[in-house]
Symmetry: C2
Subunit: 272 residues, 2 copies
């Protein structure tokens, strides 16, 4: 049985495995009024990633929680978009790390204001010194084990919109809270699912949109040298709250901001 | 200021970063009456690892919390040893992953019974299929990001006392809740600090004891082939609750259980 902890209740047991071990996962959903943007993709992902972690949850329960959250919170945002966060934990019990015999997950629902959104002229990014390591069996899951992203975020100086994390080989993998897209000529590249700490819902949506629009998208590693290769036309950051934004400066290096973003922004207008 | 959440209060805010991101660390301490076994090593580690995570905490506050926990909980265990758990989180606040400007950590104190202890005749272990990945900048820290250990623990069949996790190269790194020691002739080997997900307090204690007793201890990788090498005399598992225990069977393979454990057990008697 899913135990839904709504905003009216602001505490969770100290014995929750989400706290003890980061034993759970989360979704951050942009809300437009009572409508969850990319709702199906978010719920699909939470259900399938919960299954990868052996956390039993019914999609219908998540669906009901999102609908109820829209009703509960929308009036507080005066017509502005807002952000819904769902944290799903394995609940309590089990001896140490071992799973409880009867798992009763907790779903913690909370709402917050939209963060400041960048305009379309592009943002400043830099490379984080903090290395990203991805367990291949957990790749892509938005789990509650996010200490690497927290530690990388210490490097924000106030100038950067995002810090991009690298794997041990030096490839650009993802931002602390965004996925990457590189435009090379008329071809798009994004790091492969299996290399990612978090495989975002917006990333999946954009891949589908680009392909539906006749663009070629390939998933492979992005070495930093790709940003100075001859066909390079732009670097983009994406997540489900901000949508997609071009990077106009990476560290001290100016990057081209070309017609690429408009192409994608046109696609995204259908979301808004 | 450190906010101590004692056993009388059993809830923590849903906004705690320990829950949201696993942004914190923990200690599991064996208690003998009101006395914390290896108290200095535990508090040293928590203070130094909290500093690595930029979580401000005074040793004197932790010290006072352990003393108070002894007074609060010891009467409930009728003279039996028990287990004290301290969870230190970064508290609330901060925009997303970014650190709060004023960090007010939470220390969550809880007590539990001792787990069943193996006798000295040795335990059964096996190798986990779940791979262990260690971020070099977080190596050894007993953080709240423990989903890998949770996932590996799904493989317990009821027969094994412990499952040993391997790195990408196949080296035996550590158990889900124990560190490893291998005896080769009169030489001891344990995987290096920098390769470990959790560098245990008991591991540090044993290295010091063995060296003080004139044994040679080296920290290097442990490939599985080391367990069938000519000088192999035993494999041992250690943590601060169980102490140290020999492995008599690894999967289907019987391992020697020789005079090694006595040597260490003699040292450990000074703890009890």
């Amino acid at each position: 049985m899913l135990n839904v902890i709504r905003s009216g209740r602001s505490e969770v047991s100290t014995a929750d495995r989400g706290l003890a071990y980061g034993d759970g996962l989360f979704e951050t959903i942009r809300m437009s009024g009572q409508r969850a943007v990319l709702r199906e993709l978010h719920l699909d992902r939470m259900v399938s990633d919960a299954a990868r972690l052996d956390i039993p949850v019914r999609r219908s329960d998540l669906d009901a929680a999102v609908t109820q959250a829209g009703i509960d919170h929308e009036p507080g945002y005066n017509g502005n978009d807002w952000v819904l966060k769902l944290i799903l934990t394995r609940g309590q019990g089990g001896r140490g790390y071992r799973l409880p015999e009867n798992c009763e997950p907790n779903l913690i629902v909370s709402a917050s204001q939209m963060p400041p959104l960048p305009d379309g002229s592009g943002v400043i990014a830099d490379v984080s010194r903090f290395p990203l390591t991805v367990n291949p069996w957990l790749a892509g899951i938005k789990t509650l084990n996010r200490l690497e992203q927290v530690m990388a975020s210490r490097e924000f100086t106030g100038k950067e919109f995002e810090l991009i994390m690298r794997d041990a080989a030096g490839n650009l993998v993802e931002g602390t809270r965004t996925n990457l897209f590189v435009r090379l000529g008329n071809h798009w590249v994004t790091p492969p699912d299996g290399s990612l700490a978090v495989s975002g819902v917006m990333r999946r949506y954009l891949i589908n949109c680009l392909r539906a629009g006749g663009h070629e998208v390939s998933e492979h590693n992005v070495p930093p040298s790709m940003l100075s290769s001859s066909g390079f036309r732009g670097l983009f950051l994406a997540n489900s709250v901000i949508g997609i934004v071009p990077v106009r400066k990476m560290g001290d290096v100016d990057l081209p901001v070309d017609s690429g973003p408009e192409t994608i922004c046109d696609l995204l207008k259908t979301l808004e």
